[in-house]
Amino acid sequence: MSQPNRIAGGQIDDKHALSFRWNGRNLTGYAGDTLASALLANGIRLVGRSFKYHRPRGIFSSGSEEPNALVQLREGAAQEPNTRATMVELFDGLVATSQNHRGALEWDLLAINDLISPLLSAGFYYKTFMWPKAFWEKLYEPVIRSAAGLGRLSELADPDIYDHGFLHCDLLVIGAGPAGLTAARAAARAGCRVILADEDFRMGGRLNAETHAVADMPGAEWASATCAELASMPNVRMMPRTTIYGAFDHGIYGGIERKTDHLVDSAGKPRQVLWRIMSKRALLCAGATERSIAFANNDRPGVMLAGGVRSYVNRYGVAPGQQVAVFTNNSDGLRTAADLEAKGIAVSAVIDARKGDAVIDTSGRKGLRSLRLNDGRKISADCLAVSGGWSPNVNLTCHHRGRPVWNDSIMGFVPAGDLPPGLSVAGAANGTMTLASVIAEAHDAAKMIACDLGHARGAGVAPTSSDETYEASAIWHVGGSPARAWVDLQNDVTTKDIKQSMEEGFQAVEHVKRYTTLGMATDQGKTSNTLGIAIMAAASGNAIPDTGTTVYRPPYTPVSIGAFAGRARGKDFRPFRLTPSHEWALANGADFVETGMWLRAQWFKRPGEAGWRDSVDREVAMTRASVGICDVTTLGKIDIQGRDAAEFLNRVYSNPFLKLPVGKVRYGLMLREDGIVYDDGTCARLAETHYVMTTTTANAGTVFRKLEFARQCLWPDLDVHLISTTDGWAQFAVAGPNSRALLSKVVDSMDLSNEAFPFMACSECRVFGGTPARLFRISFSGELAYEIAVPARYGHAMMGALMQVGEEFNAVPYGTEALGVMRIEKGHAAGNELNGQTTAHMLGLGGMVSRKKDSIGSKLSERPEMIRDDGLRLVGFRPVDRTQMLTAGAHFLEKGAPADMAHDKGWMTSVAYSPELGHSIGIGYLKRGGERFGETVRAYSPVRNQDIMVEICSPHHIDPEGERQRG
């Protein structure tokens, strides 16, 4: 019979049937059901197995606090483990399976753990598995790991899209139960911009689960009407299915909105949206969560929280059992009997602990069958509604490391004084437990907030409601049976575990938590922490306030990792920065390489070339033989202007800059303030008060940042201004013996002879009949070379035009690989050499650091360990056997010396194959390297399976006198 436990009424639509599949069985539910309510309606009580003992587990609650009913939802790549059935909105075509069992759920093979449970008491794994030593990795740990965890990832990429959003408001109301709805309405009427968020798909909170009346109508109806009113107001944003999961600094709250989790598939729409909500004020109306009572075998399927039972009966139209008993230690639990009877469900007993009655044991391994009371009676029941009291949901109030305080009159922890700034609390979350007082408190809180924010419109009047009293008692644990009594249902933590842990000296609440794992499961102890603390207090003889709580941390309920990542997936993880000639390069056979976020042409393949070496060797050979063109736009460019520009440069570079003539470029050695070489580049003086600085690609942004620091913080009255122009100018290296000839056909009316425009000259100019440009005669390749810059929007055209003019010289485009080969041939330091650990002395440039002026880093560059004579020096290497290829990262050892760190003499930083020399070359740092030319050392690279002898030489492998670039 379909849905044997379905009863009339509730907020489900019994005209709208939905089909779903559970553990392979086809079942029916209704729109408005959760998976949990639909399972219960179909008479299914066993839904999972506990973590350690694999005991049968049933649905315990009706909310996000659910510790037991964790299911694997959906299939394939969308499969989602550990999903609370109580929070899954039923949809047509839903597929779910149970978790954490070997073999069928009903016959879990690992249930054997329960039989050996005395061996598995708290912390047992710390006391064993140590011998034999090898067995840990080979046997014990693999077994532990395979038993650990609950659900399973599909190991396929998450197929869904997630979005990030930003919202601003005057008041964020967290929770849309009676407190939240009242407050939102009052604040909105007063004129505040309000966001009202609730984790449920139907706002109303406990009003939907209970039978209280508000404003002379059923609570659920009032909730519905109030929602409609709020939704119609332009200054209100309603956010159901949205959990406010964390309170962060400065009024920023994190929210997660579930957009398509209640649909059979997302159809390409974002599955969830991660919201960052910036609110002037926030009001926590998150209500309270019910907790259990500890008694023997209180964990069987069918033992449920009383409030949850009422929710299933009243909201979902489901009888959780045919014979329901009620066990409570407070006045609220008694409502359950009345609600059950009103729906014609048999109540087999009402056990009020305050009167001295108690349940001391239960039976029914796969599902509750009967209870035993302390007076000896045996009661038949297939469902036991337990209420151990209500714990205010204080979590967000403690996200800034506050702690709640204990309140004896409600037997719960309530928010204390040190709340996150701007956050206040109203309702059960504040320890106000009865409906009329909740509504009054929320209304007043909202009025006060509206007033504080300067919204003077009338907030209206709070609605009336039925009143009640709440009487709690300090009855936590029932004795009278030697069997285990559960506290944490998911992690299988019992009262015995807590007591044992304290006997073993783990007495602080944090120690008990970590040793027993109480409160560390996916529910983070929502239904068990307070109970656990009370038991600890009893065991230690301390009062509950002295025992204290553990730390509350975000997220309030778990949030999908995909949501935090948002759209930055796959290729969109980071932006692509493209050079101005990117399209040209793409069309001309380029393979690209990442340089930070830039894509740069690495080489340009010609038809017939088999591997990258063919292309690179050709590019190098042709550039050195005739002319090559390379896009060097990515290197940083900073425009520096002002009357004090020269003085400024003189202070930020370690070498002198005051006397750089107009029309000249100078190499600039920039140190970090701690004396380490930070960046090197050039600085060109285009005019009296106008310079252009270049930096390496990687440091473009950070050099600019440091210069601005110097300008604004160190010397605020120097007349100097900086503009980052890296993206503003497209820049191309034109290198090789025919570079002058090529550029003579490009640059308008300028004498480019060696006399008129010598090495290290610079000038503004025009190209191709009037386009503004800048020309710099600098050389990274060691050849006669220039760099020519045009405004970036002409970059693509410029590349094409240069290549066209270059045709007569057989000009080649060259990429970063050839660029690298040439600079290594010349012994120029670049990123591998300037790695943040390099001194000027290591580069052989110690003399460049002027001692006659104060510049950034000069003082600390003189520290003794940094100027040692026997320190590392940048030198060149060739393989003794010229047919061998050097590897970067090899360490240098003396021949015959032990291969250990004490004998480590340095390392190879960069290597390349030199087409000109016909063999592999390298540069690197070697202790006393400058004195050792001609000697040999071992280049030791075991991770590359290489150990060869290399010859030490000058790092300037070709044209050491630098004649070519000066020609």
Partner: protein, 416 residues
């Protein structure tokens, strides 16, 4: 009491009532030979090795909260010895060797799990840097292997090899790296030290130092004054505020590092994996949760909590290399106080005040150093000389220009 499977069986058969307290809760004596300030991983390890290896037991560990409540109680549990520089690598290799024998040494299962650590490589320059590092590791006697894409795919088929913004080009892999159950480390060392007579005093905060004429004679605490010949501070992120009471300023800034755990999952991540083109590293604990983290937030903080940009950044990094984790849920996020030093490397040294010693500056890498830090600190306290592998961890190294700067970031703590 010695722990073993037999003991568990015996106790199981007699109702688990015979377990003895893992440590005592003594009141402090008026005087000790050595006081260790800080009952975290390093402090407890120091006490253990003082007692076990050097026979010094007239020692007290003073902890302001509950034992192990500092960073030892919340970290991403990784152990490895894959450092680059001579000042560091031999130290971390010693630490890894101590990890390997730890459980047998202190008879407590810390679940030292050496399932390997894999650092992904995404560019040639990065590969060259890792080759340099791998060779340094081998020179120090540690293990290092360079893997190609196929080698990585064999171990971790779920990584994104096809659609990544920064494609995986290779990895450096240390087979002996892995994870350890962090709480067990604190408890194991505490138990071992306590057994041998060390007093571990919890809820005892040091409020001042008794210093006269450049000599430290003891401490003022919330439980009264306690004298000692040697006072050894190791309080990680609280270093500055404790040493300030001795009139010292340190080359340290305190920063927040966030870490995260997911809900428990069946085994899916075999070892430790780190992303090379973003801030993300992950492992899977023996309880099934994915333990992961990334970069520090970047601003000075003692708040022990961070903000959202880092959470998003870390998860972006995770999804970039293993997009399967989108369906897993972040269960809990923490923040700790990291003692970020000016070169990213620690200090284990005497101070300018006789009798006062300092151990700190571990940045976010202190957990793996726990055994060697304790061992070397004990060595310094017992013999007066630094252990050879820790000889460079001096407070005056910046004065001399001898920074131990693995990343090459310079004197800016939040870049390390």
């Amino acid at each position: 009491m010695r722990y073993s499977a037999f003991k568990i069986l015996k106790e199981a058969l007699t109702g688990n009532r015979g377990w003895k307290p893992v440590w005592r809760h003594p009141e402090p004596n008026p005087e000790y030979d050595i006081i260790i300030v800080g009952g975290g991983g390093h402090g407890l390890a120091t006490a253990y090795y003082l007692a076990k290896r050097f026979g010094l037991t007239n020692v007290a560990v003073l902890e302001k909260g509950w034992l192990g409540s500092g960073n030892i109680g919340r970290n991403t549990t990784i152990i490895r010895s894959n450092y680059l520089l001579e000042g560091n690598q031999p130290f971390y290799e010693l630490s890894l060797k101590l990890w390997e024998g730890l459980e047998q040494d202190f008879n407590y299962n810390a679940m030292v799990s050496q399932r390997g650590i894999m650092n992904l490589i995404h560019s040639d320059a990065q590969r060259d840097a890792f080759v340099r590092r791998g060779n340094a590791m081998r020179l120090s006697g540690a293990d290092a292997v360079i893997l190609d894409r196929d080698g990585i795919r064999e171990k971790c088929p779920f990584l994104d090899f096809d659609n990544a913004r920064f494609p995986i080009q290779g990895a450096i892999w240390q087979p002996r790296g892995g994870t350890v159950r962090h709480d067990a480390v604190a408890w194991g060392y505490a138990r071992g030290a306590d057994e041998r007579g060390v007093d571990i005093i919890q809820n005892c905060e040091v409020t001042g130092f008794q210093i006269e004429n450049g000599v430290c004679h003891g401490v003022e605490t919330s439980k009264g004054p306690i004298r000692a010949k040697k006072i050894a501070v190791c309080v990680a992120g609280s270093s500055s505020r404790v040493m300030e009471k001795a009139g010292m300023r340190l080359p340290i800034e305190s920063h927040v590092l966030q870490a995260f755990v997911s809900e428990g999952l069946k085994p899916v991540i075999p070892g430790v994996i780190t992303f090379g083109a973003g801030h993300f590293y992950v492992s899977q604990s023996n309880k099934g949760g994915l333990v992961f983290g990334g970069d520090i937030d970047g601003y000075n903080s003692y708040a022990q909590r961070g903000n959202l940009p880092v959470v998003e950044d870390v998860c972006e990094g995770g999804m970039a290399i293993m997009p399967m984790i989108g369906r897993a849920r972040l269960l809990r996020m923490w923040g700790g106080i990291m003692d970020m030093s000016m070169d990213g490397s620690p200090f284990i040294d005497k101070t300018g005040i006789d009798g006062l010693y300092f151990n700190g500056g571990w940045c976010y890498g202190g957990f793996k150093a726990t055994p060697a830090s304790g061992f070397c600190y004990a060595h310094l306290l017992a013999t007066g000389a630094p252990h050879p592998v820790a000889q460079h961890y001096r407070l005056d190294r910046f004065l001399r220009g001898a920074a131990i700067d693995e990343k090459g970031s310079g004197a800016q703590p939040n870049l390390h």
